[in-house]
Amino acid sequence: MNTLIAITGLGVLCLLFEIFNFRKGIIPFTIVGLLATLALTVNDYGTNASFYNNMIVVNNFSVTFSSLFIVLTIFLVALSHNFYESHPTKISDFIAIKIFMLSGAVAMVSFGNLAMFFLGIEILSIALYILCASDRLNLKSNESGMKYFLMGSFASGFILFGICLVYGAMGSFDVIEISELSRSAELPDWFFIGILLLTIGMLFKIAVVPFHFWAPDVYEGAPALTTATMSTLAKVVAMATLFKLLSVLNADISESFQIVIVVLSIASMTVGNIMALRQVNVKRMLAFSGISHAGFMLMTLLTLTTSASTLLYYAAAYSISGIAAFAVILYVCKNRDNEDITNFHGLGKTNPLLAAVLTGALLSMGGIPIFSGFFAKLFLFNQTIEAGYLVLVIVAVVNSIISIGYYFKLILAMYGKEPNEEKTGTPILYYSVAVVAIVINIVIGLFPSLVLDLM
């Protein structure tokens, strides 16, 4: 609860800063504030409490995921400094929206009532619609915002319908009550339909095949930093929320529902990876990569009771490497009108450090050892095989192989081609974010227990 209050307070403060014309201080202040919030959140670790009519529930799940989101937001805010250099008047709006988005995200993993969940996801979504369209003079950005908005609202309708049916079945929005009621023998079928609709709505947000079509277009059109936000923060938030929803509502994951998850997971991995192969736009490529990672993360739903820590680890590994990758992408594509792979030509020569970071990030996403991405996949596969889904793991393995194909396309471009032009200026924040992110990635790779044992 403290976290949520602190975050909203921080968001409001950001807006006040603008009023008092204190723009320069916004980003440092926000980062410090977020760090303080992080400390506050971490402080809650180990407690189990619920606040205000069980609207907000604090437990290890919410604390760890909230901390992850806060860390990601710190990175994203840090990246904002250079990214919004040309929009000095709007910086407070951008930062405030990001902070509020974080509050939505936190609400999504610590909700105790479906109302909080719904509001959280709407805050997150609306903030993202805005950020996507925020480059208001750029048609691509507009288009991306519009697409995301239309389809997101459409999906929201399904989520709302799902909540409605759950309510219809249970007569309550409180997850504890719902989960208690769901254990009783007499269970209206509406409940399952509701859960199903909720799940499908969330699958849309996570971008799982066949609900994934929006992701590449939106990622491509959105400003790069927003893409970073969507592909790291939004994705893991949605995934964690789906996980929490299904586990908290004590949804009976029947065999056929598991088969649906397996099929969706396979489809997501395969479609995401195969489609990514021929992409020239890096953001688009990472969108498809995100779709495939969503497929991977879906596997955790098969072992709901035991795989929270695996999901946390996977989400952390994936999003942190995503941050590192996007820090480099932002640097490279600054002042360019597209994010094509050609922009990365010769980065290994002109800027070996960032090239190395991007390489590390991509290797991590591809699942190469010592990077945390490898361990994430390892734990995931381990869990899934233990649950008896060997075929799924084999498909996942095949997909990991395919994914190397496009991750290496980018690495090849960096090291195998001659640079087009010299890049000037060394935005220190991009550097530090990139390096810190990759270091965190490697550290949790070398010591996975740091994250794994949190839950």
Partner: protein, 478 residues
């Protein structure tokens, strides 16, 4: 003192090289290479004195993965192969100028680190991690410092990377499956597993895919020739000299003991694949125009024989395979270095553009000749010991295998001598060929000395590896 120090030395070496700057990097790398060699010899002496040099430490609790490094004779032999070849390979690069030399040499040491880890790891997952780690440096070495057309090189290198990774991911799956059964990745726990023959078959095949691609066994070899051709010679040496021995080592250490009944049941198929590699590789090597490609196919033929030896599942086969691995490691490094020496002077790898070198460079010719002879396993070279033992073990399985495998001594002689003839002999070449420099001589002479010495007196190596191989045979026959 335990084996973890060797890894630390190599890793520190990699970083030290990276931070020492382009000028100093080669020397620092060489220094660390030599130190690691010295240290591994010291470890060998400790091991022979009966001291425990294993290193075990917990790492990840859930799933339980431990940082466990164990050294038996086999591991030590492979470690020594690695640490002996690394400084040689580093030293062999002294004649070349590399852009960003610090990165280059650091990557070499890093690769050596990963390979040493692969040879020492006694925990399945740790082993897998090292196995994969070794892939990354060679990828960059080949990609950045390779030669030939950039586009083609990239294609070849990426194919190589994806292909080998593809194989090893199935191995990872197998490991995870085994973990599910054993609850531990530790090799001794995995050895204790009682698997049904169906399970064993799948495990065996999963491992086989990884190793067949890495080794490579036909028909999984398609990445090899291109990559050998395109990689810088140092990379080719690392690949052919040490890295593919990782695959063969792993067959002995992991694949056979983990799935012995599958190995026994389908033995002939895998021997046949190995032998097919021998014949196929030799025949393809006959008509290669590119020197490095020819050597690549010769490598294919030789490792085919080694692989066939490992799959015989008898002591001779394993012992011969290990001996041949070491011998082949040295000789192939030597031969690729020869190709590099020629390239330094003629800037070509096309055999047709060479010829008539002998009259200009007697020293070089002699050393090249000896390497060629070692490669065709002339008795009194180390290669003969290995090849003889492997062929002998094959003859125990069926004399026909020995005969088919033995064609290597005919075909091998054919393509190697043909190559030698077209590269070295004939009318004096119009282009000037300077005889070998001191640095080059040191590398070649060390290799040749090694091959000839152990060709006459292989006992130290045999004695080192035999107990551990006997142990593995016992496990296979459990």
């Amino acid at each position: 003192m335990d084996v973890s120090f060797i890894l630390i030395i190599l890793l520190i070496g990699a970083f030290a090289t990276y931070f020492s700057g382009d000028k100093l990097a080669p020397k620092v790398a060489l220094l660390f290479g030599l130190v690691s060699l010295g240290f591994s010899v010291y470890l060998l002496s400790l091991f022979n004195a009966g001291q425990n040099i294993d290193f075990i430490s917990a790492w990840i609790t859930k799933p339980s993965i431990s940082f466990s490094l164990k050294a038996d004779g086999l591991s030590l032999a492979m470690l020594l192969l690695n640490t002996a070849l690394t400084p040689l390979i580093i030293f062999s690069a002294f004649g070349n100028e590399f852009r960003n030399a610090k990165n280059f040499y650091a990557l070499i040491l890093f690769m050596s680190f990963a390979m040493a880890g692969t040879f020492l790891a006694a925990d399945g997952l740790l082993y897998y991690i090292f196995w994969e780690l070794a892939l990354i440096p060679i990828y960059f070495i080949a990609l950045i410092w390779g030669n030939g057309d950039a586009e083609e090189r990239k294609k070849a290198v990426v194919k190589f990377f994806i292909y080998t990774l593809a194989g090893s991911l199935f191995m990872l799956t197998a490991f995870i499956y085994l973990y599910g059964k054993a609850g531990s990745f530790l090799i001794e726990d995995l050895y204790k597993l009682e698997l049904s023959s169906q399970e064993q078959l799948w495990i065996f095949l999963a491992f086989f895919l990884a190793y067949a691609i890495k080794i490579p066994i036909i028909p999984f070899h398609t990445w090899q020739a291109k990559v050998y051709q395109k990689a810088p010679t140092v990379g080719t040496m690392l690949l052919s000299g040490i890295m593919l021995k990782m695959g063969l080592y792993s067959v002995i250490r992991w694949q056979l003991p983990l799935a012995p009944s599958a190995a026994k049941e389908y033995m002939t198929i895998f021997i046949a694949l190995g032998i097919a590699g021998v014949i196929y590789g030799s025949i393809v090597a006959l008509r290669q125009k590119d020197l490095k490609k020819l050597l690549a196919y010769s490598s294919l033929a030789h490792v085919g024989l080694i692989a066939a030896g490992t799959y015989t599942l008898n002591l001779d086969g394993l012992r011969g395979a290990v001996l041949q691995m070491i011998a082949h490691g040295f000789v192939v490094v030597g031969l690729f270095f020869v190709a590099e020496i020629i390239y330094r002077r003629y800037e070509t790898r096309e055999i047709s553009e060479m010829g008539g070198i002998r009259s200009q460079s007697p020293k070089f010719t002699s050393m090249f000749m000896i390497l060629v002879l070692a490669s065709v396993a002339l008795p009194s070279t180390f290669n003969f010991i290995g090849e003889f033992t492997v062929l002998y073990s094959l003859s125990q399985i069926g004399i026909i295998w020995a005969i088919l495998g033995g064609t290597t001594i005919i075909l091998g002689a054919y393509y190697m001598l043909r190559m030698f003839q077209h590269v070295m002999l004939g009318e004096t070449n119009a282009k000037l060929f300077k005889d070998v420099t001191t640095n080059e001589t040191i590398v070649l002479v060390s290799i040749i000395t090694f091959l000839l010495f152990f060709g006459i007196y292989p006992k130290p190596i045999t004695d080192l590896i035999t107990p551990s191989l006997e142990n593995i045979i016992t496990i296979i026959n459990r």
